[in-house]
């Protein structure tokens, strides 16, 4: 197989080119010979020719960082020069080989990805197993107009995630030109959303994009509507009202002020890690969370976020397993909440970093049509549970209607967890020794891993047992194919 495609590959020896405008829309199995330099006769395509530079650069940087850390004193400029003289071509050759031996092809019902120079590896991604297709643009790639197409698969793919930036080395297509990436994403999503009609020649849901559009607007041609946006002032205020910056400021003060007063410098140095943490919790949160747009699209909710690194994710509504509305204490006067979700695959877990309560409710309504969270009557546990939860007994409450189960907990950070009956993976009743003394029990609703853990809180033992059986019945009905939540 190796020889056959090598023989038919016409552009192998082409030197890497500067980024060019993406090719006109073409189907990977189109009968007419493609004009693109990236597509072979057999339908295989390569990554963008600039890829070796972006990948090889990482090696040089990593090596330089290691050298710099270990031999900071001894290394001379000449040694560095010599190393680079050897390293830069080596990195270039490595990058070229990775690019040269990586190719992909869209088949009828899947994406085939060949990688590996010495150990050939072929990965076949079935389109109906695809949980999400994300476009990620790291800073460097963004500068030259490239993007990473990230394929999220259910379940066992997670153990592969050991790459430098959290992605799976084997299910990422890096790098493609932005126009190509958007087209490929459209093809993959049409294939995965409608497996019966899955075909790479299916019409592009985003319409033809000419590649010269700004990246955030080019695939909005399908009549999508913006559901929620995060204004920068609100995000900045929300970050200022979160505990992290205050903890950091007081921590730095506690460490640095005494040492400044005594004239030693060690304390000031000790404060630097805290400043790094502060940066991570404030500026980075802001850069990731602004601009943040949630909009509808043909495939589900679209999340576009990031100031420096743009991230685009699509969340099909059926993949959302559970939702959590969090209202921290200091946000409550303004009525702001964070909306998080458990989603199958490894998509984003934050749906809205900070939103007004009614915006969050509207989004919940968009994800779970016909569900009214506010209408679900929440009941508290018996009064004797005060012994187990003296401070927050009055917060703990849960309730259910015929579609969802809702639980509320958390004294300072008020959480409201929502799970549809059909998405419950298993139900567990747990009665600890203390709870058994008080005839209490706790009911857990297991879902896909994520930030949301749904539990009923301390309930009467008899009521909890009844709740388990009642929820098992509701979840059985919720799994039926004709049920709206299925």
């Amino acid at each position: 197989m190796t020889t056959s495609w090598e023989a038919t590959e016409p552009t192998v020896a082409d030197p890497p080119k500067p980024p060019e405008p993406p090719d006109p829309p073409q189907r990977s199995e189109s009968p007419d010979p493609p004009e693109s330099s990236e597509s072979g006769d057999d339908g295989y395509r390569r990554l963008h020719p600039l890829t070796p530079f972006l990948r090889g650069w990482v090696i040089v940087a990593a090596f330089a960082a290691t050298i710099g850390r270990t031999f900071a004193e001894e290394v001379t400029a000449r040694a560095i020069g010599l190393t680079m003289l050897f390293l830069v071509p080596a990195a270039g050759i490595y990058g070229y080989c990775v690019w040269r031996f990586t190719r992909y092809r869209l088949d009828g019902d899947g994406l085939r990805l060949d990688t590996g120079l010495l150990v050939r590896r072929t990965r076949y991604v079935r389109l109906d197993r695809l949980q999400a297709v994300d476009l990620v643009q790291p800073l460097l790639a963004r500068l030259v107009g490239l993007a990473v197409v990230r394929l999220d698969l259910a379940g066992h793919e997670r153990r592969d995630r050991a790459d430098s930036d959290g992605g799976s080395a084997t299910s990422d297509l890096r790098y493609l030109s932005l126009g190509h990436a958007q087209r490929l994403r459209g093809q993959l999503l049409t294939g995965s959303a409608r497996p019966a009609a899955a075909s790479p020649t299916a019409p592009d849901p985003f319409g033809p994009s000419d590649g010269s559009d700004p990246p955030d607007r080019s695939d909005r041609s399908d009549g999508s509507a913006t559901l929620a946006e995060v204004p920068p002032t609100r995000l900045a205020a929300a970050i200022a009202l979160s505990p992290a910056p205050w903890v950091a400021v007081f921590g730095v003060a506690a460490i640095a002020v005494p040492s400044l007063l005594t004239g030693t410098r060690t304390g000031v140095l000790g404060a630097i890690p805290i400043l790094g943490w502060l940066w991570h919790r404030t500026v980075r949160v802001f850069a990731v969370g602004y601009p943040y747009t949630v909009s509808t699209s043909a495939d589900g909710l679209r999340l576009d976020s990031g100031l420096i690194e743009r991230a685009h994710a699509t969340v099909p509504p059926g993949r959302v397993q559970a939702l959590r509305i969090t209202a921290p204490l200091l946000w409550r006067p303004f009525g702001w909440v964070t909306l998080r979700m458990n989603v199958a695959g490894s998509g984003p877990t934050v749906l809205l970093p900070v939103a007004r309560h009614d915006e969050a409710m509207a989004l919940v309504g968009a994800l779970l049509p016909g569900v009214d969270v506010a209408a679900v009557a929440l009941t508290r546990g018996p009064r004797r549970a005060l012994l187990l939860a003296p401070a927050h007994w009055w917060v703990l409450a849960c309730g259910a209607d015929d579609r969802i189960f809702v639980a509320r907990h958390g004294l300072l950070r008020r959480h409201t967890d929502i799970i549809t009956h059909g998405k419950v993976q298993s139900i567990r009743l747990i009665a600890n020794p203390l709870a058994r003394l008080l005839r209490l029990a706790d009911v857990h609703f297991d879902t896909i891993d994520g930030p949301v853990r749904v539990r009923s809180g301390h309930r009467d033992r008899q009521a909890a047992t009844a709740l388990v059986y009642a929820q098992a019945e509701l979840s059985r009905l919720g799994r039926r194919p004709d049920h709206p939540d299925h």
Binding site: A154, G155, G318, R319, Q321, A344, G422, K423, V424, Q425, S426, I427, R428, L429, I430, A431, N432, P433, R436, A441, H444, D446, T447, I448, D449, R453, T465, A466, L467, V468, Y469, A470, Q471, A472, E473, S475, R476, R479, P481, H486
Partner: protein
């Protein structure tokens, strides 16, 4: 309202006595060396509190002997039409409901000791890492039957994610 849904007590299956026997054998395997060690200490060191030391492993083993019995009795499972119930625990009591349509895979495993005692462990996995549905010991024939039945019903009622 939900009393009608609670399964008939007769439909609960208990675990085979081989599991209890295996656990007690393991207990003896730990207790005998412990008693011998404490006896050795009692013989070599004089002084009156030391003979009591031998009583410690014996007391612990005696308590564990009956604890094994109670835990074994408490561990039971019931196959309903659409889900599997597992009830277990004395100190921490648990009741787990796993719908057949949610099962991703069923593991049947038996180590060398378990094989010698003629039991196998059945573990159910769902897409949630937190669901811990496990039946620690069944006769191999029953384990295989349960695995096949669960797999078959899981396929029939499969619900996707």
């Amino acid at each position: 309202m939900a009393e009608a849904l609670i399964p008939d007590p007769a439909s609960w299956q208990v675990l085979p006595p081989q599991l209890r026997r295996m656990r007690r054998t393991l207990l003896l395997g730990v207790t005998v060396p412990a008693v011998m060690l404490t006896l050795l200490i009692t013989v070599t060191v004089d002084g009156w509190p030391w003979p009591l030391l031998t009583g410690v492993p014996i007391a612990v083993a005696g308590w564990a002997w009956f604890a094994i019995e109670r835990v074994w009795r408490a561990w039971r499972y019931a196959e309903r039409e659409d889900d599997l119930l597992i009830s277990r625990g004395i100190l921490i009591q648990r009741l787990v409901v796993v719908p057949y349509g949610r099962m991703q895979l069923v593991d049947v495993s038996a180590g060398p000791l378990a094989r010698r005692f003629g039991i196998a462990k059945v573990q159910l996995h769902t897409a949630a890492a937190t669901s811990d549905a496990v039946i620690p010991g069944l006769r191999p024939a029953e384990a295989a039957r349960l695995r096949d039945a669960l797999t078959e019903r899981g396929e029939a009622r499969s619900a996707g994610l």
